[in-house]
Symmetry: C2
Subunit: 705 residues, 2 copies
């Protein structure tokens, strides 16, 4: 890019002159430097000058009043289009001067019609500079057909965001319209994206609406740059990318519980019980001023009494005692710390102060901290947990949870342990994130050989740029699923009135997660169900499902569901169909989905499901199979061993089981299958909802670079 003007200097000067909306001609000059086409034009102060400019430019022209507060220009009569002659020009200028006295006028060559897009930038408090791409004009507001991307965005991501618009067809030869040059359009938007990065801090938002795409390319017809009145040069991205590993948290050779308690039920007691119940093999120290013994372990009266260099401290003290405890730990060279207490920034100003002090000590002493306001973390490969919630022995598995909240170290984990059969690998409750946040934790889990899949729950993302960078890599290696909780601050205050505010943040999150390759889910329960499937199932190769049900109504409603979830229920190979026909009475014409009950009635439930499942598992058109087992004593309970055998025989195809009829047998089926590695789901919709999540993971891991 040839920079024939120091755009930063110009923007700075405008800000210093308390200019909020940059005059349009200046705005266009700036973005033109970044390779965006703009209409030829010139600011004019008199009709005499205008006539001269008009002769240079040639009619038809547009005249615009560049008032500093005009947001919706065309709505307020500040734009005169289709000016075809000197006399019309004189009239137009006269009218604009009456309506907007003293406002400078801009004369521009009128742009030939085409498709109106909108593109823009918003410097979001949370996500930093973000790029918007959408259908322009009135379509933007009415249909909200827009997509967001975090910057920096890759060209392929911009193209995808453009092609994903409902209105994209308008660009590509819709019903006999011309097909425009998509490359040029993406080039133009990439220019704006570069401006968005290079000018970060100078603007609040940029609106290019319309960006007219016609035979000549993509032209920024209207450019509104809202400057940032409180401009500060953006800080150099990350303070310091910490390269020290989180390993010690997940494989501590020794641990100390500071604030150990002898009272059952107190957090300082529960933590110790959890550590012991998990069979932790390292050395366990306890600290409490009362000294003595707790649960058979000796208690040190103070941190100073500990040996040097204990790997990990779990601090269970009131928030106000935390700063001193941190200093004491640092003095004993204890550098990994979990802060279980609450009472920090999440409660009041006093807590905020303590949190601030805590952060200073962490920086100063070079400590690594999880929390505060967390319920702990877990590492089953090392038989270790710092959870303050009564959990007992935590089942080992290959799925890791990374959560802003303590739920996965507390009641949700308790549910998983008592209501499900899968285990976990690492669990991290980030809490207030004074030090370790999701980016670093995600990077750790991405590299962790004990983690096959990552389940996240986040309410905020601390360093979105770093997070995006890391996530882009991790999601090519492992499935990553996220529930994003929470609405904007504005939204939180009056949730319903601010749906729009939520929608905005929601779109930013959507765009960013798509760039990151993270599969977004919308229900808390899906985090648990997906974890179960990741624990037991391979990822499906594609989205082609076969399912076997005992009832026509289920065939119909589950087919409908598949379509709405983006799953296919394809035709089977003739050989497969024939096999299904062979096991069924002749009056049913067998196909996919499979109406299995007639076969089950005539040949036995086990035979019907076994042969039916094997037929579709064998079929090259099928990526995953869901049997809906009908279970009653009278109709016969199968042994279920056949499902294990089929899973072994077709290891690349996920089998997800659901059922109907008698509750008791459903539960028995779950108790049999799940410990043996086949997931079951109590509601018939769930296997399909989960398959859709798994398939989106497959697609994301294989996405083009």
């Amino acid at each position: 890019m040839t920079e024939n003007m120091d755009f930063r200097k110009m923007l700075r000067e405008a800000i210093n002159e308390r200019c909020h909306l940059l005059p349009e001609d200046s705005g266009k000059a700036v973005i033109a430097q970044f390779g965006m086409k703009v209409p030829s034009g010139k600011r004019v102060t008199s009709f005499r000058e205008a006539r001269r400019v008009a002769s240079e430019l040639g009619y038809p022209l547009v005249v615009k009043a560049m008032a500093p507060d005009l947001i919706h220009k065309s709505d307020r009569g500040a734009v005169k289009v289709g000016v075809e002659s000197h006399s019309v020009l004189r009239k137009a200028m006269g009218e604009l001067r009456n309506l907007f006295p003293g406002v400078p006028l801009l004369l521009e060559k009128m742009v030939a019609p085409g498709v109106e897009l909108i593109t823009g930038l918003i410097d979001d408090g949370h996500f930093g500079p973000c790029l918007m791409i959408g259908m322009g004009g009135f379509l933007t507001e009415l249909f909200q057909d827009v997509n967001f991307l975090m910057l920096p965005a890759k060209r392929g991501e911009v193209l995808e965001a453009l092609m994903d618009l409902k209105g994209f067809k308008l660009l590509s030869g819709f019903r006999g319209r011309p097909a425009y040059d998509i490359d040029q359009t993406v080039d133009a938007i990439m220019g704006l994206a570069r401006f968005g990065e290079e000018a970060a801090g100078y603007y609040e938002s940029v609106d290019i609406n319309p960006l007219i795409v016609n035979e000549r390319g993509a032209i920024a017809v209207d450019v509104k740059i809202l400057l940032n009145p409180t401009f500060v040069a953006p800080s150099c991205e990350e303070l310091s990318v910490d390269t020290r590993s989180l390993d010690r948290f997940f494989s501590p050779r020794s641990v100390v519980v500071i604030g150990a308690s002898a009272t059952t039920g107190k957090s300082g007691n529960v933590v110790i019980r959890n550590i012991l119940a998990n069979g932790y093999a390292g050395k366990v120290y306890l600290v409490n001023p009362k000294a003595g013994e707790i649960l058979g372990l000796p208690v040190q009266p103070s941190i100073a009494d500990l040996p040097e260099g204990v790997d990990l401290a779990i601090i269970v003290l009131p928030s106000k005692e935390t700063p001193q405890a941190l200093r004491d730990c640092a003095a004993r060279d204890i550098r990994q710390i979990v802060l279980l207490a609450g009472g920090f920034a999440e409660v009041d100003e006093y807590g905020e102060e303590i949190q601030h002090e805590t952060i200073q000590i962490i920086r100063e002493k070079g400590l690594r901290v999880i929390g505060p306001n967390t319920s702990g973390h877990t590492s089953t490969p090392y038989q270790f947990t710092s959870s303050l919630f009564p959990l007992g022995k935590i089942r080992r598995g290959k799925v890791s949870f990374l959560a802003q909240t303590g739920n996965f170290a507390t009641h949700t984990m308790r549910y998983i342990l008592t209501g499900e059969h899968f285990g976990v690998s690492r669990v991290i409750g980030l809490g207030n994130k004074v030090d370790i946040e999701e980016s670093e934790a995600l990077e750790y889990l991405g590299n962790d050989p004990e983690t096959n899949a990552i389940i996240m729950y986040l309410e905020s993302i601390e360093r979105p740029k770093r997070f995006l960078e890391i996530a882009r890599k991790v999601t090519r290696r492992k499935p990553v699923v996220m529930l994003k909780g929470g609405i904007t601050e504005a939204g939180k205050k009056a949730a319903v009135a601010h749906t729009a505010a939520m929608a905005l943040e929601d779109r930013l999150v959507d765009g960013m997660l798509r760039q990151a390759g993270i599969v977004r889910v919308r229900e808390y329960t899906h985090l648990i169900l997906a974890a179960k499937a990741f624990s037991m199932n391979p990822l499906p190769k594609g989205n082609r499902v076969s399912f076997l049900t005992p009832s026509g109504a289920m065939l119909v409603t589950l087919s409908d569901l598949c379509i709405s979830l983006g799953l296919e229920v394809p035709e089977l190979e003739e050989e497969t169909r024939q096999r299904l026909q062979d096991i069924s009475p002749p009056f049913i014409r067998m196909r996919n989905p499979v109406d299995i009950w007639a076969a089950a009635t005539v040949r036995g439930v086990e035979f019907g499901y076994r042969e039916g499942m094997e037929a579709v598992l064998k079929d090259p058109n099928i990526d995953a199979v869901v049997p809906v087992l009908m279970l009653t004593r009278e109709t016969g309970i199968p042994s279920y061993n056949f499902i294990l055998e089929l899973a072994k025989k077709y290891p690349e195809k996920p089998i997800l089981v659901t059922f109907s009829a008698e509750k008791r047998y459903m539960e028995e089926c779950k108790e049999f299958l799940e410990p043996r590695g086949i997931p079951t789901f109590p509601e018939i919709e769930q296997p399909f909802e989960v398959l859709s999540i798994l398939y989106r993971c497959t697609k994301s891991m294989n996405r083009p670079r």
Copy 2:
């Protein structure tokens, strides 16, 4: 309406002349009779004539080529707009004649710009004449911002369908645009609706695109009437609206099982066991050629051996024996019949023939029949069922199921009986609907004092007009919830490729159910969960929810969920807030939703939830309350009695319970609460999904007339 032309005669003649697309001038003449404005215009054959017409009409003009196969005229250059002078007109006509030689031309006054709507008719094989209203031009195809209504449609319904468009704002003064006359717009559409009814059978579809709404009103600028080449005068609506009641099916004084079997497991045996297990008090007869005794009851060798006038026959014979059995029943004056066997039209051509014969016998003999291909029906107030599935005693309740399928008389009922605690009143499995169909059954349930709520599963609607009429009334008295299963025939053949086809039928169903006041659900599981809530909860007065959770993450994610479900989580009265604050430690600022765990920790789980729930139940801003109970032995299991007491004290506010943590206690909680009338839900999202269904029912029952 002044009919200055016999439009039916004209349409008939056009059809006889093998005209498919009615010439536009004729189409406009027809709809003008129904009160729609059309542009002034005239068909011209020479430029000479055109010049004369142009002088009459005045410029600017539009010239259109009226080729019989032009569907997207403007895409193919068949329309010249903005013709401003004789010379331009001559040129335009020349071009059109070159492009479309021999095609008649239409000269019209150009309509001033405005908002482009689309409106149209489709004579759907299923739903009969339906009206479409949407945003016109390219918006239609790209954004599919259209709504459908079945005819006849009420004016209020048309207005609602118009206002419900995302693009409606364009009509009502959007960003400084003019606000147009909505009344005139609705008048125009109502005119088309009248045509749609009166001309039913003559057209396949009508497209008015655009219907331009400007200062002069709503003008049908382009009118395409596709005639029905296989025109047949529509049959006089209903053959005969049967007014005989279905009472006998649900309170038979005597019943005979024809095809009774001594073999355990056979349908002819299961039916008898079910009847006995339910404690049916009427007389039970059995028929089987072998005579003898089954389950202690005497068996008659033939129908002829039965006494006259048994109230109800349950026929469990192969399909081919059914016609004779029906005749024999008629001979003994047995007039109510349940046909349990399959093997009719659903299997093959031979079955179709038998079904046809069956229908003839029914008509001839005046029988009333449920089925065939059904699994039976149930009437717990009369302790009776005809189900062929082993069910045992069916729990009595106040919710009735009306289903196309036998699921609710078979495995789904078995699940409800073994996995849930609510009961049912009437259950009807319609099967192939040779006689009794959903309209009549819905009318019966609507008038049934034993039915408080109606749950429907339908795959087809036999007489949509009658169904709509009946449903409009019933839904004002009782909540009616429906899952519509199934896609169009075209869609069934290749589900994924025909998403569009499905979407179309889906939109028709959507529009019709909205007119009918039926609340549509999308998941099978929701039919069961809604039935549970109807059985135990009052309907909420509004959509304002309070919920109490043990975890911040749940506060956040469930608030998000509420917004997406159309539920509000409003601010509480200051008094309520104070009460919540009083029971909590001071460091938490209490509000709605309620973060209850600190209170539960400090003051006890039962105290915390009880006092918290009572505070919000008392609050006039709250319509429904959801406690998320956290259940572990260590943190304390409450007695749950307090929930019963609260439900009694605040009978107008639904309480829906869900939980987290230990599975075993969740199940115990369900076992305690549900038999006592409080519904519980295993997944935290479900109470909210169900509340949203209940609230939509409230809104529907109170909708304006």
